[in-house]
């Protein structure tokens, strides 16, 4: 139905796609599997007409086409749902679907669109109220709107770029049902992901990409998770669960009844305990108060109510410096921004959290930074490179090097492996495990449920700013957690 033929595409300094070819049949769910930076999104952008390939071409039903724009691609039946949604949040669903639709009369009649939205929703199991405003919808519902939008325009091939990264496990199940219905009607679905389990679950065929090249193409029935992982990374990897091996000690972080607010994030009456030698996970869909919780504990936002004790010292309302002095380190999700000053060099960033004398000794700072670069194998031209020039994994390593350099007793990490390649993920996880074994207390806040389950000794679920569930990490049930994340057990 759609095929890529010897496609190459380079960006300044990177070969994002090199001689990529693959075929998708009608009615097939075809996965593009690869680590972050493997070139999946770039390939998808070429298949939809967003980017033009440097070499090679796209074929539709065996005919060579040159796609000039996403609009042109859609006219030929290729629709894409991006990682970041393209919706106007102040508009209603119907208005978003009408936007830029040349079939619409000049005088808008959203009635017909509303009808169509309901009809498509029913047919493919994508229910959504056509009159609702986008900013009133959950992320899962917004994704449905994106899918409906492409179907409304007559897409025969649907590309979904990392569609599950924003969903709860239940939402993933319903999405997969819709994908199967689409395929059963003869539409092709290209499913882009770096999650092995999902790929094994939903696809008919898999094309694996690494460093811009296709390194494998197989039917799912002829392969295994392990084989796919090896292809994707190029070596054996172990991302299996790691748990505490020693019994846990005294509580190092105690949060009682914390109520706090931070930009667009709010937490109310949250109580959490993290003991020495323990990793405690906070699971939840993004935007449910995780940020307020972390910043509240770290003293970056003054608590409205509650008490925070770090290593036995009450730091409630005393600010971030007091929290640090008591033994806390915080690795925020927003690494270049909240965590690091992106235009400052690695060595300058390393100095930011230190008690400095009035005159800064740059030489020793550079020496220290170089030591960290070696110890954490940070890929950079040098210690004076601004951190914004580094890739995601290396930025995270700089931040970890700085924070762990303080030898914290309590560590809060937010989405520590988000956007990192598998190698860096392994590194970060082993670092966290090492700290746990040294008897430190770690609070792991992450939207990635797999990660929370793989690392945590205990799990709290946060929903709309409240802790709605607590359970052991060992054997935690995905369905139960997923329901709690969606607020069902509240």
């Amino acid at each position: 139905m759609i095929a890529a033929r010897h496609i190459s595409k380079s960006f300044p300094g990177v070969l994002a796609n090199q001689d990529v070819s693959f075929d998708v049949a009608p009615g097939e769910v075809h996965s593009l599997l690869g680590e972050n930076g493997a070139g999946k999104s770039t390939l998808a952008a070429i298949l939809t007409g967003l980017y033009q390939p440097d070499a090679g071409h796209v074929e539709i039903d065996g005919v060579r086409v040159s796609l000039k724009s996403p609009r042109h691609g859609l006219a030929l039946g290729i629709g894409m749902v991006h990682q970041h949604f393209r919706l106007v949040s102040q508009f209603t669903v119907a208005e978003n679907i009408s936007l830029g639709d040349r079939k619409q009369n000049w005088i808008l009649s959203t009635k017909k669109v509303e009808e169509a939205v309901r009809e498509i929703g029913e047919r493919y199991g994508l229910p959504v109220d056509p009159r609702a405003r986008i900013n009133e919808l959950t992320v899962g519902e917004q994704q449905r709107v994106e899918i409906i939008k492409t179907l409304y325009r007559g897409a025969q091939v649907l590309l979904l770029d990392e569609p599950t990264s924003v969903l709860t496990p239940q939402e993933v199940t319903t999405l997969f049902d819709s994908v199967r219905t689409l395929a059963s009607e003869g539409k092709s679905v290209i499913f882009i992901s770096h999650k092995l389990g999902e790929v094994m679950d939903i696809s008919d065929r898999v094309t694996v990409m690494r460093d811009g090249k296709v390194v494998g193409n197989t039917s799912v029935t002829d392969t295994s998770r392990e084989a796919l992982a090896r292809m994707m990374v190029g070596r054996d990897v172990d991302l299996s669960a790691i748990r505490a091996t020693k019994p846990t000690g005294t509580p190092l972080l105690e949060v009682r009844g914390l109520t706090a607010k931070s930009a667009r994030s709010q937490v109310s009456d949250a109580s959490i305990v993290v003991k020495a030698g323990e990793i405690v996970g906070i699971a939840g869909v993004s935007g449910n108060g995780q940020r307020a919780l972390a910043e509240g504990i770290a003293g970056l936002t003054p608590p409205v109510g509650g008490h925070i004790t770090i290593c036995g010292i009450d730091v409630t309302g005393k600010g971030s410096v007091a929290a640090r002095k008591a033994g806390l380190s915080y690795v925020p999700e927003d690494r270049n921004g909240t965590g690091l000053a992106p235009s400052l060099s690695i060595s300058e960033n390393m100095l930011l959290t230190e008690d400095l004398p009035f005159l800064v000794n740059h030489k020793s700072a550079v020496a220290k930074a170089e030591e960290a670069i070696g110890a954490y194998s940070i890929k950079t031209p040098g210690a004076s490179t601004p951190t914004r020039m580094l890739s995601g994994g290396n930025v995270q390593k700089v931040l970890l090097a700085r924070e762990l350099g303080h030898d914290p007793q309590v560590l809060i990490v937010a989405s520590p492996t988000w956007g990192l390649d598998v190698g860096a993920v392994e590194f970060v996880r082993s670092k966290l495990n090492e700290l746990r074994n040294q008897g430190r207390a770690i609070l792991l806040i992450s939207e990635d449920l797999d990660e929370v389950r793989a690392l945590s000794d205990r799990i709290y679920v946060i929903f709309e700013g409240k802790i709605v569930m607590e359970c052991a990490g060992e054997g935690a049930d995905v369905t139960t957690l997923g329901l709690a994340m969606a607020g069902a057990s509240a």
Binding site: R71, R86, F91, S98, L99, Q104, W106, L108
Partner: protein, 313 residues
């Protein structure tokens, strides 16, 4: 003169005073809905006024004068569009610069005609039947044709924004230009068109002042700062054309109160204070609207004031 007739006359005059505000503020709404703030409005109104004066006195046609005033405002807006959209200059700075430029240019052009009077203008157009309704008739339906045009413009603007495909695209461009761009719309073209249309309407506002309110050119006093009031009105109306009418007449009443109370011989409140009233009202409304959490930025296009750069990623 009876008590009521003073009231009726004052309200009728307030309608006239509010009319240039309607034209200009609708222009502001259209431009800001596309995401471009236009602080050059006062300059565009002045240029519109002086152009109307010259063309009207030359041709003897108020219609030609009115249209020329709009075109002059639109040309000035084209400069604003070029700076703000293509060159991505700071919209606040270039809008202010444009007001200064427009004011200077108007007084330069108007030097030879300073103090002269307008020879020909529009008369009142009494609408049959409606104008004889007691009270309402003389206030609303014994006005000039431009007052009726201003209602029509507000109505059309409202329908255009909310009920048409182009209006939907326009709103998308002002709320989320990246999405509009991804949907294949030209953000740049949409913004240019609507900033220029906004300038046309601001120019019309200036024309109305010279044609119907102060029919003589005076470089200091012609628009008297109402371009700024129109800007505040855009916020007051939450970027909605029909609400602009309401706000404009409210300001019209405030501007007229001065004369009305003098006419009634009431002097308890000093005339200077009354003259200050509309501007005070502007400040108060803006403070109240921004101090209240719920109304702060209510209806403001999300991408207002932000230049659009296509992000390749």
């Amino acid at each position: 003169m009876t008590q009521e007739s003073v009231l009726v006359l004052t309200l009728a005059a307030a309608i006239g005073t509010g009319t240039p505000l309607i034209f200009a503020a609708i222009g502001g709404v259209i431009s800001e809905r596309a995401g471009v703030i236009n602080l050059g409005m006062e300059g565009m109104m002045l240029i519109g006024a002086v152009t109307t004066f010259l063309v009207d006195n030359k041709t003897g046609s108020p219609v030609a004068g009115f249209i020329a005033g709009g075109v002059a405002g639109a040309l000035l807006a084209l400069i604003h569009a070029t700076l703000a959209i293509s060159l991505r200059a700071n919209q606040i700075v270039c809008g202010l610069a444009l007001t200064i430029f427009g004011t200077g240019l108007a007084s330069f052009i108007g030097k030879p005609i300073e103090g002269q009077g307008l020879t020909k203008s529009f008369g009142s157009l009494h609408i049959p039947a409606l104008s004889s309704i007691p009270g309402v008739g003389p206030i609303l339906f014994k006005q000039d044709v431009l007052v009726y045009l201003s209602w029509f413009v507000a109505l059309i603007a409202s329908l255009y924004l909310n009920r048409t495909r182009t209006g939907l695209s326009l709103r998308a461009v002002g709320e989320n230009p990246a999405t509009a761009d991804a949907m294949g719309l030209s953000v740049v073209r949409m913004r240019y068109a609507h900033v220029v249309a906004g300038g046309l309407l601001a120019g019309f506002g200036g024309s109305y002042v010279i044609l119907r309110i102060v029919p003589a050119w005076s470089q200091a006093g012609t628009t008297n700062g109402i371009g700024w009031i129109a800007l505040a009105l855009v916020v007051f109306a939450s970027w909605r054309p029909l609400r602009v009418i309401l706000g404009a007449y409210l300001f019209g009443v405030a501007l007229q109160a001065n004369f009305a109370l003098q006419a009634k011989g009431i002097t308890v409140i000093p005339a200077e204070f009354l003259a200050m009233l509309p501007y005070l009202l502007t400040v108060v409304i803006l403070v109240v609207l921004t101090a209240n959490r719920r109304t702060r930025g209510a209806g403001a296009p999300a991408a207002l004031g932000l230049p659009f750069v296509r992000d390749e990623r």
